[in-house]
Assembly symmetry: C2
């Protein structure tokens, strides 16, 4: 899995760090990238401050195939992502002609097109626009950095519109094995099994179902045969410990807010 | 606000980066730290891999007053946080006697205490335990790093138990000003106002209420008089643009999953 393209997400916004707003973009991006065979390796949340954003953009773009940013592309003074990305790349910030044209067309006849709204047409010089079918003001791509809106419905529309710009790799396949066997009971056996099936990533997550502790084992691999062999070994282990494991494709309904 | 203590969160877990699990600890930590007057400045999500965890712990602990980690302290092979934090500090990993005693007492007579469960008593040498009133296996503190569980109910219990170890600063006070004036309409006026009231952090967030675009302006400052002056200026600005602003303490009910 090491040769697959990689990605990171930079979430820009004081509202996340204050606890006012619950991020909803990370999980959406994770699933979207998973479907393309791109490994989502890191996420960071930083405040609306130039030095923080510039440093994070540069750290992440040097390390990952793709970097996505969310937030900070609206019309107000706290929306500084475009300037910061330009600074990170050492490029001038320009008023992108096509972005300006789209905003002018969108607001034509309303009397609403002021300088603040036109700022949403600013991009680093050389950026390629990312369409915004929800509210017109575009995102943009510069190099390997994709600048998206923070509002989830807009972020999702932007992201699903740029799939053809992203080169994926082998898709990771997932199985979940649910059982009532507690983690601590199978952990010693699972440790050896994880070594034997080193090509399969095995995660163990406690779950609380109908008031009882149960466990979800999540197995992930690009190789279907290797994945099935590991699933078989896990189910044999759990049966040997008195469990009655259930195997599901993907995560089944086991996704929850808990992690161990 | 620059002299206040700062904090960062390191979320450890493949299950967050795969999109299987929605993190719920960041927002809880944000609100908890806010109440103590500690500035929450950064969050990172990294996979269950030693090199990634060690590098992130060291980057964050050098930079912030406090670092909190969540995840990776269970009994299974993918729970490697304690080892990684020990490595980050250059300390040996030991079996903490008091942690071992608690686990032995918890599992006494059940026949369930195996090596995997005892691993949950491992800490860097010199760590101070963090109580786990939910499921016994403790977290720990070493230096300025606080290692917490990933399961939200356990994380929350651990965090609220260590408030007396955290030195806070002036608490940031918050007002929200809601109106139906779109961001782009007040943005030019707000820009100047944000400069005049530089001691007040002003965030602007679109909201969608009952099918209509509205906006929440969030004003934050430690100085109550400065905050009130900025709130007054914002409401005057919005009224001048035909709005009928409503001022709420804190975030009111404006917290949502959207950010601009």
């Amino acid at each position: 899995m090491t040769d697959a393209p990689t990605a990171a997400l930079l979430i820009i916004g004081n509202e996340i760090l204050s606890g006012r707003t619950q991020d909803a973009n990370l999980a959406f991006l994770a699933k979207y990238l998973g479907g393309l065979g791109i490994r989502f390796r890191e996420a960071r949340v930083v405040p609306d401050e130039e030095a923080e954003i510039v440093a994070a953009v540069n750290a992440l773009r040097a390390r990952y195939t793709y970097v996505f940013t969310t937030g900070g592309i609206g019309p107000t003074h706290d929306d500084i992502t475009a300037e910061c990305v330009a600074t990170a790349f050492g490029l001038p910030l320009i008023r992108h002609p096509e972005a300006a044209r789209r905003l002018e067309a969108h607001y034509a006849g309303t009397g609403m097109l002021n300088e603040a709204r036109m700022r949403m047409a600013n991009t680093p010089d050389g950026a390629v626009l990312i369409d915004n079918p929800v509210s017109t003001a575009p995102g943009f791509q510069i190099g390997n950095v994709f600048v998206l809106a923070g509002v989830p419905i807009i972020m999702q529309a932007m992201l699903t519109g740029i799939g053809d710009r992203l080169v994926g790799g082998p898709v990771v396949r997932t199985r979940s094995v649910l059982s009532g066997v507690p983690e601590g009971t199978f952990a010693d056996g699972l440790r050896g099994l994880a070594v034997e099936h080193a090509g399969v990533d095995i995660g163990s997550y406690p779950a609380f179902r109908q008031g009882k502790v149960s466990t979800a084992l999540v197995l992930r691999a690009t190789d279907e045969a290797a994945l099935e062999a590991a699933v078989t070994a896990v189910t044999v282990l759990l049966r040997g410990l008195g469990g009655d494991p259930v195997v599901l494709d993907g995560y089944g309904d086991t996704g929850d807010q808990a992690s161990s």
